[in-house]
C-alpha cells in the first residue's frame, strides 16, 4: 500500500492496477489508509477534480499531524489506524448479522418499543431504513420553498457552486488530525441550503433518508442558511446504534448568514466500541443565531466541542449539552464560543452525568477578541455523580481581551444526593423512582428542547440506563 500521491491516475490506472472499476477496488480494498484508497473513493463517487485534490492534500495533512497531546491519551493511543476500513462498501451488502448484535442492545430496542424493521436498521443488519413515505411528502414541500436537503454526495454533484464556495471555509483540514481524516475519506452526511427569508418550520431529520453508508464513520455535513432564513436539523437518535465501524470522525460546518437562524440537534448513542471524534463549528454573521443542542449518550470515547464563531455584530450563540457516561465510557464534551464582533452574546449550559465507573466532563473555550465591546457570555456546568467510582472533569478556558464585557462561568459537582433521595422516598417513591426523578430533573433543560418523540424516547432511555439494564 502506498502513501504517495498517485498522479495521472486516470491515464493508466487500468494498466497499473489491473482493473477499471473503483467499486471493485473498494470491495477488495484492505484495511488502512492510502492515497490509492482516497483516489478510488473519489472516482467511485465521480467527484470533480478539486474535491479529489482536496482529499489527497488532506490525507497528507492527516499523516503529518500528531494526535492531540490532551484528552484521554490512553484511549486515543489505542486507535490502530491501520486496522480500519475507511470506506463502507456497497449499500446492497448487509453489514452485520443479527446474531452478532449484543444482547443488551437488543434488550434496549425491545424496552424502547422500537419496531422490528427499525431494529434491524439500527443494528446495521439491514442497510436502509425505509421511511420513504414520510420523507417523500416533506421533500415536496421543501422543493416548493427552494430548500435543498440532500445527502452530501448529491449536494456536491447537483449544487457544486454553493458547495464549493463554503466547503471547508469553517473547518479547514489542517484544523486537527480528525478533521484532516474526515476531509480525506468523507462519505455521506447532509447538505442543506435554505434560501433568503425562508423559514423551515418542521425539523429536518437525517434519520429518515439515510442508509448505513451515511450513518457515522466519516460523515460530512454542510448547512447554509441564507440571510433571514431559519432551519432546525436533527441527527442521530436516542436508541442505541450498533456498528462494527469503531472510528467515527465527522465534520459539521454551519453558516448562518446575517439574520439567519440554525438549530442543530444531535442525539448520539453509539455502541460502546465506538470512538466518536467530531469537529463541529458554526459561523454566525450579523444578527444571526446558532444553537447546538448536543446529547451524548453512547460510544466508548466521544470528543466533541461544538463551536460558534460570532463574526458579526449582535450574533448570538447557544450550546445546550448533556453527556451521560456509564462504566467504560468517557464523554469528553464541551463548547467553544469566539466573540469576534461587538455586542455578541453566548450561553453554554452543560450537564453531565457520570455513573458507576463512567467519566463525563466539560472542556470549553470562551474568547472575546479585542475591540469587541458589549459582549455577554455565560457558562453553566453541572455534573452529577452516581457511584463512588464516577469521575468528572471541568476544563473551562476564558480569554478576555476586551474590557467592556460580562463574562460569567459557574460549575457545580454533586453526588446524587442522599437528602433528596430521602425526601422523595419519604413521599412514597421507591429508591429507583427517586433516583430517576432526580436525574430527569437534572436533564430537563435539555429534554425540553427536543421534539416530542425524541423527548419521550430520551426519558425512556434514561430510565433504562438508571435501572442498569442496558449495561
Amino acid at each position: 500500500m502506498t502513501t504517495e500521491r498517485v498522479r495521472e491516475l486516470n491515464l493508466d490506472y487500468e494498466q497499473k492496477y489491473g482493473f477499471a472499476d473503483p467499486e471493485a477496488f473498494l470491495h477488495k480494498s484492505p484495511k488502512g489508509l492510502s492515497h490509492e484508497t482516497v483516489e478510488m473513493i473519489s472516482r467511485f463517487k465521480a467527484e470533480p477534480d478539486w474535491m479529489r485534490e482536496f482529499r489527497h492534500r488532506a490525507l497528507d495533512t492527516f499523516l503529518a499531524k500528531p494526535l492531540p497531546h490532551w484528552g484521554n491519551q490512553e484511549l486515543l493511543g489505542a486507535i490502530d489506524f491501520a486496522d480500519i476500513h475507511y470506506y463502507v462498501r456497497s449499500t446492497e451488502e448487509s453489514v452485520n448479522d443479527w446474531d452478532d448484535v449484543p444482547e443488551n442492545i437488543k434488550r434496549t430496542f425491545t424496552r424502547l418499543g422500537i419496531p422490528a424493521a427499525e431494529q434491524k436498521f439500527l443494528a446495521g443488519v439491514t442497510a436502509q431504513y425505509d421511511s420513504e413515505v414520510v420523507y417523500h411528502s416533506i421533500r415536496k414541500d421543501l422543493e416548493a420553498m427552494g430548500v435543498v436537503f440532500t445527502d452530501m454526495d448529491s449536494g456536491l454533484a447537483k449544487h457544486a457552486d454553493v458547495v464549493r464556495r463554503y466547503w471547508a471555509s469553517v473547518i479547514p483540514p489542517d484544523d486537527n488530525k480528525f478533521a484532516a481524516l474526515n476531509s480525506a475519506v468523507w462519505s455521506g452526511g447532509s447538505f442543506i441550503y435554505v434560501p433568503r427569508g425562508v423559514k423551515v418550520e418542521i425539523p429536518l431529520q437525517a434519520y429518515f433518508r439515510i442508509n448505513t453508508q451515511n450513518m457515522g464513520q466519516f460523515e460530512r455535513t454542510l448547512i447554509i442558511a441564507d440571510e433571514g432564513a431559519s432551519v432546525h436539523y436533527i441527527e442521530g437518535c436516542t436508541a442505541p446504534v450498533y456498528t462494527t465501524n469503531s472510528l467515527h470522525a465527522a465534520v459539521v460546518e454551519l453558516i448562518a448568514l446575517p439574520g439567519a437562524r440554525i438549530r442543530y440537534t444531535t442525539i448520539q448513542n453509539w455502541s460502546n466500541n465506538v470512538y466518536n471524534l467530531v469537529t463541529k463549528r458554526a459561523h454566525a454573521h450579523r444578527d444571526a443565531v446558532v444553537e447546538w443542542v448536543d446529547g451524548n449518550l453512547g460510544s466508548k470515547l466521544t470528543m466533541k466541542y461544538p463551536a460558534i464563531y460570532l463574526l458579526g455584530e449582535r450574533a448570538h450563540g447557544e450550546v445546550l449539552s448533556i453527556a451521560y457516561a456509564g462504566t467504560g465510557q468517557h464523554q469528553d464534551a464541551g463548547a467553544k464560543m469566539i466573540h469576534a464582533a461587538p455586542n455578541t452574546s453566548s450561553r453554554i449550559i452543560s450537564k453531565s452525568i457520570s455513573k458507576d465507573a463512567g467519566r463525563a466532563g466539560y472542556r470549553g473555550m470562551i474568547k472575546v477578541q479585542r475591540d469587541c465591546p458589549g459582549c455577554r457570555t455565560s457558562v453553566e456546568c453541572d455534573a452529577l455523580l452516581i457511584g463512588s467510582a464516577a469521575r468528572t472533569d471541568t476544563y473551562p478556558t476564558m480569554e478576555i481581551a476586551e474590557n467592556d464585557v460580562r463574562v460569567e462561568h459557574e460549575a457545580r459537582v454533586s453526588k446524587l444526593g442522599d437528602e433528596q433521595l430521602f425526601y422523595l422516598q419519604s413521599r412514597g417513591l421507591s429508591a429507583d423512582q427517586a433516583r430517576l426523578m432526580i436525574v430527569n430533573g437534572f436533564i430537563e433543560p435539555f429534554v425540553r428542547e427536543l421534539p416530542m418523540e425524541y423527548a419521550v424516547e430520551m426519558n425512556r432511555l434514561i430510565e433504562l440506563e438508571m435501572e442498569g439494564s442496558v449495561g
Binding site: T61, S169, V170, I171, P172, P173, D174, D175, N176, R281, H283, Y309, L311, I338, A340, K367, Q369
Partner: protein, 102 residues
C-alpha cells in the same frame, strides 16, 4: 509617525517571512516582492502562538498549526480557524532597513 528599525532588508529573501522581536512585540517581516515589504504581528489570532518563518504564498501567510491564513498587506483573515485578522503596521524601506511604525 515613529519609525522603528526592524531588520536589514538583505536578511529577508524575496517571497519569505522572517520573525523579529522589538521590545515585547513579536513581529513578522514579509517580503512579498523585491521592494514590497509588510510588517504584521507574528501571532496567529487563533491560538496566539507564532506564525513563524515561512515561504509566502503571494501575499498570504499561513499558520503551520491549523491552517489559518492572513493577507500580510492588510492583516485581514482569509481562512478559519482564525476568527479575526492580525495587526499590520505601516512599513517602509530606508537605508537598507525595513522600518515600521509600531
Amino acid at each position: 509617525m515613529a519609525w522603528t528599525s526592524i531588520l536589514p532588508l538583505a536578511e529577508i529573501p524575496v517571497g519569505t517571512a522572517r520573525p523579529a522581536a522589538v521590545g515585547l512585540d513579536r513581529l513578522l517581516v514579509c517580503r512579498v516582492a523585491a521592494s514590497d515589504v509588510h510588517v504584521v504581528d507574528d501571532v496567529c489570532s487563533h491560538d496566539e502562538s507564532p506564525l513563524g518563518a515561512q515561504e509566502l504564498d503571494g501575499s498570504v501567510v499561513t499558520c503551520p498549526r491549523h491552517g489559518a491564513r492572513f493577507d500580510v498587506t492588510t492583516g485581514s483573515v482569509l481562512r478559519s480557524p482564525a476568527p479575526v485578522g492580525i495587526a499590520s503596521y505601516p512599513t517602509r524601506i530606508a537605508g537598507g532597513w525595513v522600518e515600521a511604525d509600531l
